[in-house]
Each structure stands twice: as C-alpha cells, then as structure tokens.
Amino acid sequence: MRIVLVRRKKPLKYGGLVVALLSLLSGIFVFTIFAWLIGVNPYPVVETIVTTFIFPGVVKDFIILTLLGYALLIAFKGALWNIGAEGQMHMAFLVSIYITLIVFFTTEKSLPLYISIGVILLSIVAAVAAGALWGGLAGVIKAYAGVDEVPVTLILNYIAYFIGDILVYGPFRGKYVYGYARTDLIPDPYKLSIPVQRQLSGNALIDTVTGYMAEFATYAVWLVALILVLIFTYWLLNKSNIGLRIKILGSNPDYLVSLGYDVRKTMVLTFMLSGAIAGLTAALYYHGSLYRIEYPLEYNTASYGYLAILVAWLSMLDVYLVPLSAYIVSAVILGSQRVSSLPSVREAFTRLQLGGAEMAFKLLMFGSILLAYSILRFIQDYELKVVS
C-alpha cells in the first residue's frame, strides 16, 4: 500500500484569482480568530486592517515589495522557486556597506553632487552584482548538483545572515555605535531619500492625501527604479530570447533540450537575473531607508524577501498585477502590525505575559495567508491517491 501524490489532469474549476482572493480572506480570518482567542474584540482588528489600505505608511513597503515581487516573478516564470531573496539582499547590503562605510566613508555633511552620485551608483552596481552572484550560486547548485532550489535558497539565506553577523561584529562594526553590534550610519551625502516637511491640517482626508504625497516624494528615487524594473521585466519576458527561454523552462524544459539550449545555463541565468533585482532592491533600501545594518542580520529586511513570495504568487505571475499584489500584501501586513498596538491587544499581551506583539502578529498574518494559499494551490493542482 502506497500513497502517491499526482498532478491533477484537469485543474479544479476555480482559477488563480479565486485562490488569491480566498487565501487573503482566509488569512485575515484566521488572524482575527487568533486575536479573538486571546481575548481581543474582532471588530477593531478587522477595522484596523481594512483602514490600512488607505494609509500613507504603506507606500514604503509597497515599493520595496513590488521590486522584490519582480525579482521573484522572473524566477517563478521559469518554475524556479527562489525563496532566497533575503540572502541575495543581504549579500548586496554587505557590498554597499563596504563601499559607503569603508572605502568611501566620510564625515562630511555634504559632498559635491558628482561624488555622491558616483558613490551611490557604484554601490548600486556592486549590490546588483552581489545579488546576481548569490542568486547564481543557488542556480549552479540546483542545475549542476541537482539539489532542489527551495532548501538551497533557504540555506543560502542563513549563510548570508551568518556572514553578515560576523562582519557586523568584526570589520564592519561602526566607530560611533556605543558598543552595539552594528555599522555606522550611512554618511548623509549617500542618502537617497528626500526629506519632506509636512504640516498636519487635522482633516483626516487632507492629511491622508498629503501623507501619500510626502511618502512618494521621499522615495521618489525608488519609484523611478520601480518603473525601470517594471519595464525591464516586461521587456525581458516578452521581447528577449532569454525571457522566452525562461518561460519555456517553466513550462516544458524538455522542449528546451530538444531545441539544443543549455537548460542548466538557463537556470543559472534566471537565478542571476532574479538575484540582481533583489540586490538592486537591497541597495535602494539601504541608501533610502535602512541607513545601517545591525545584528542580528535577519531583522534588517523586515522579512521582505519572504513577503515577496506572497506578492509573486498572489500576482498570478502577471507583470501588471505585481504592483497591485504588492500593495495588498503591504497593507495587510502593515495592518497586522498596527493591530498589535491596539490597546486591547497590548492589554491581552501583558495579561498573558507575552512580548513582541508586533513581530508575532506580522508573522501570524504572513503565515496564515501563506498557509491558506499553499493549501488552496495544492488542492487545485494535486490529488492524493492510494496504490495498493
């Protein structure tokens, strides 16, 4: 007697969109149930999540997650499940840190513009290369050693964290950190964010609108990058030969073989492109918002690399739906974090003697959606059969 898992001959009737929406809703549902179980009134929980859809704080996550969504979209199109965006980002952080805090470190408050731009560009290029190499490494292991890419990319994440931890404890540790294990702050001339002053009017609507405007202005450079990456991804997948190869790799690698393409090289290349965009995102995030990295390394990215998996899946691998999907994921996740500062939640956490509500809630939401999504996808694609 043996139980085997086989792909359905015919996927279930409900399509990708239903799965996407259903997993979001059931994620929120599970999340709310959990809050209710620890004694929190569900009504404000749901209200907080819903109102976060119109909340300027979403903008930052939205841009980062869109960029990473594209990074993963490329790999997923080739049926390569790159869950290593985290590691690829961290390797990119490290080279950016090296360039901005060691090689070109300065205590000046301002430098000639061409120097600032030069250093930033150098840092970005190096980050892109680092991300591509770290991604490519996963590709090489997958393609030439035949190891499944999911554990490989996951392990490479931890190796990247580990390398980063060592560096932050050692050579990268800052001079002005009062004993903390972290790097110095990025010198002002290398910052990419644009400081915006904003007066609150007291009118909720006006403040929301100006809030969004201020956020978009602050991250204007990111937005430009987002548009470029969108165009690049579209071009890659729809115009270039590499993109065509990636798509066929995802659909029928046997066809690639009989055409005489090198399937392994295509895999490595796909991973490199994916990692390159993750690296770019890391550089932008570091120059525009993070400004330093600290121990332990995995906290620096706020799990963006994992959330992006959700973004790519929910977009149903459609180039145009990635921003929408990123926005929804940002809002829901940020919403779950905001839930943790509700008075009733704080009270419940104190009562239960729990700490770290913010992280816990975020992970809970992430986990619930992912779980719901995986289960639904699984049911859609596979069935269990018994062979006697």
């Binding site: 043996r2 085997v4 066929i248 029928n252 009989s258 055409l259």
Partner: protein
Amino acid sequence: MSSPLLSVANITKTFPGGVVALDEVSMDFHPGEFTVILGENGAGKSTLVKIMYGIYTPDKGSIILKGREVEIKSSLDAIKKGIVMVSQIPQLVDRLTVVENISLSLTRIGMFETMTRVRRFFKEVSEKIGIKVNPDAKVWSLTYTQKQLIEITRAILLDAMVLILDEALTYLPMEERRKFYVYLNEFKEKGRSVILITHKIPEALEIADKIYVLRRGKLVGALDKASANIDKIRDLMFGEAAKTITYERFTKPYETPIGDIVLNIRNLVVEGDYGEIAVNNVSLSVRAGEIIGIAGVVGNGQRELLEAIVGLRRVREGRVIIDNHDVTNKGVKLTRESGVGFIPDQPLRYAVSADNNIVENVAALFSRKNFVVNWKSMRELSEKLINEYGIYPPRPEMHVKLLSGGNIMKTVVSRELEYASKALVAYNPTRGLDEATSTFVRRKMKEKAVNSKLAVLFASEDLDEVLQLSDSLYVMNRGVLYGPFDPVSTPRSKIEELMVV
C-alpha cells in the same frame, strides 16, 4: 433494433475565443456495436468524447445512458458509469510502473486488487491482444504507442461498458491491430459498445458497424456498414481536399540526382533507458536530396537511434558524422546549429511548450541566436506556417495546448521542416494527422528533400508511409538494422516478415 446504450443529443460546445468545436451534434451508440468517428484534424472528435468522459461540460445538449439522462461530472464519474476512454495523449503517471498505474485506477473506483493479481490480469489481457510490455517497467521509459497499449489494457480491466479509443490504435503494427480488433469484437458481442476515433479510413470501413463524420464541429454524415465507401467518406470529411489524398509513390517531377553524404552513421551502439543495448551496430548514410525510411514495430530501437543521431542520447560506440563533421556525443546544440530539423517521438512532450503560443514556440527555434527576438518576423513566419499547413484555428497567439492533437502536430512538423536546411530526422512524421494533411506533409518532405537538397531520415511505424516516401528503406528489429531495400521491388510481405521475426 435495440435501444442505444449511450447517446449524445444536440451537443454544442464553444471554447473561449469563439471556436465552435461542436454544433448541435447527436449520436447513438448501441450495445454490440462498433462505432467509428471520423473527421479532419480539429473537427471536434476529441472534444465530443471528452464530453462523454466528463472532461468538458457541454454548453448545451444532453447525454443519455441506458435511456436516462445523466450528468457526467468527472472522468472518475464516467468510469463508475462504465464509460472509459483512452485518450490521444497518454494520461499515465510517469513515475509509477505499469502495474502500479493500473492498480491506481482500479483503486479509484473501489476495486481493490493485489499487485500480483493486477500483474496476472495485465499479462492475460496483453497476451490476448498480443502486446509486449514489461508490467514492471516505469512508465516514463515507454514509447507513446506502448503507453497507449497500457491504457487500453487498463480500460478493459476497468470493465468498461463503453470503450472509447481516441486514436489509440493507430500505431499498433498491422498484425497486432488485427488481433486487437478480434478482441474488440469479442468485447462488443457481450453487449458492450466500442467508439473508435481514427484517421485510418480503410480500416475504419472494415471494422465499423457505424460511422459518424464530423466536419468543423457539425455532424455531416451517419453511415452504416452497407452504405459507406471510402470515396464518400473522404468526400464528407474533406470536401475538395479529398482528391489530394494518395498513397502512391511520389515519382516523376521529383526524380533528380542525389548529392553527397550528409548523414553518416557508422557502427552505432546506443543504450536504452535501462542500459540495455537498444541500437546494435547500426550503419547507414543519407545523401543530400535522399529520403531514407526505417520501418519497424514500436520499441525496436528506432527512437534511441534517432535520438542518438541528433545528440539527445549518448552514443556508446560508433560515430555520427553530419556534413563531414564528427558530432558524436557533442550535444543537440551542434546538430541543431548545423541545420538539422527533428521530429521526436512524443512530440507533445518534447517538441512543444504547451503553455506558450505558436509564435513563441516558433521563435524558440528560429530566434536562437538573437538576443532580442524579432517578434514581427516570427509572427510572419508563424502565419506562413499556419496558412501553408492549415493549422486551425489560424491564430498565432493561440496557446499550443488549446489546439487539437493533429494541429499541435502540424505546428511541430511545419516548424521543423521549415528549419531543416541540411537534414531532417523524424519519428512518425504524420502521427495524428488526417489523411489529407498526411499526404500534404509527405509531399512537402519529398519536395523539400529534392528542392533544398535535404537529407531526410525518418522512422515510421506505418509501413505505407515508409513505402510511399522512401528512396530506399531499412527495417529495424531488436536494435538491428536490415537493408537497404528498394521500396518498389521488394515484396511487402518480406518487409513485414522482417519487422516481426
């Protein structure tokens, strides 16, 4: 006359994109009757039987089983109701063995059998219909035809009342096919019903009690044994194009002197999927402008030989020389780049990316050297192939998986023939194509060989095809190549004998 076992009434099915696959189609299937459904590629045959098998739901119309209107929700439901289909595309689980696959299906309908009993059943049935497949072989290592045989056996073990065979017999060797028809006759005598889809019309006429003809989704003919004849049927199926069908050798205008050796195969030894010797010391050469055909029953090493020649399979001993360059074990890339077109066994598995559209499938081969694909010219090329080969529906943006079996084959054949500039290596080049299209493709191969000085090497399980097309032919049996023979002067019986000894 008895009442029908199964009927479909006024079935209409339109697919997204507006293709009317079936338009008000009604048919009756009586117990003890052998029904054949005929129609050109894309006529709607597979769609109709898929509806009976619960894979598609009709937009309109009803299915009546033993006098009662039924809804068939899934193929499992169909099997439980006694309707079993063997589809055009094998539906087995590759990772499992033959016996495991069969046992899996039995389990699903609640028939629990031990592996030993299934193995014995399988042996019994397969001996009766005369097939040779190792019941413990993993399915992935089998050829297309062998997979279909397993599916047929499985259908019988599932105790089908209505057995639907969608082009499932086409490539059984004549002898085995005859045995199988005898078996099917026994089967139908027990009050069961057989529905067969085929493109082999002469045979259909021999075995059918009743023939239905579909054209562009409409039922255009319902004939019984007495009223059917081949010209009438071809006319119903193809209209004007029926006149082009021929099995005569292509001679006169094409006879030009042949050129230098392009494909030179020296003492080739190639292993099969289990490390057994599949190709045993084979030598042959093909000159520019020449067509060499290899006849043989499925599973005698033809697939392995052709794969080794194009570089898809490792050569253990011997040499493959293309255009005076030794390409032995140097990979597919090199052979492709030297202008070799290749039509593999299982084209659906190895020769198309089903989730991509026709243009993308074409571009993957023709734009291999361009960093940026020239989509405009790829589209034009696709349109040209669509027009030339009558790919239906004529939409370059259509995902390949939405085309009918024969139309998928047309995209493969047209693309590879177009690409081939030095040589074409092909396995069953007209598998799944209707008679008019098959004739067209064979004519095209002949034309291309002569006009573009192409060296053509093909293996086919269809002896008529080998006899029609080859300038000289070989027979492959258990890895050994016999020949060359002259297709005109060699008696057919001699070739058939060599195929099965």
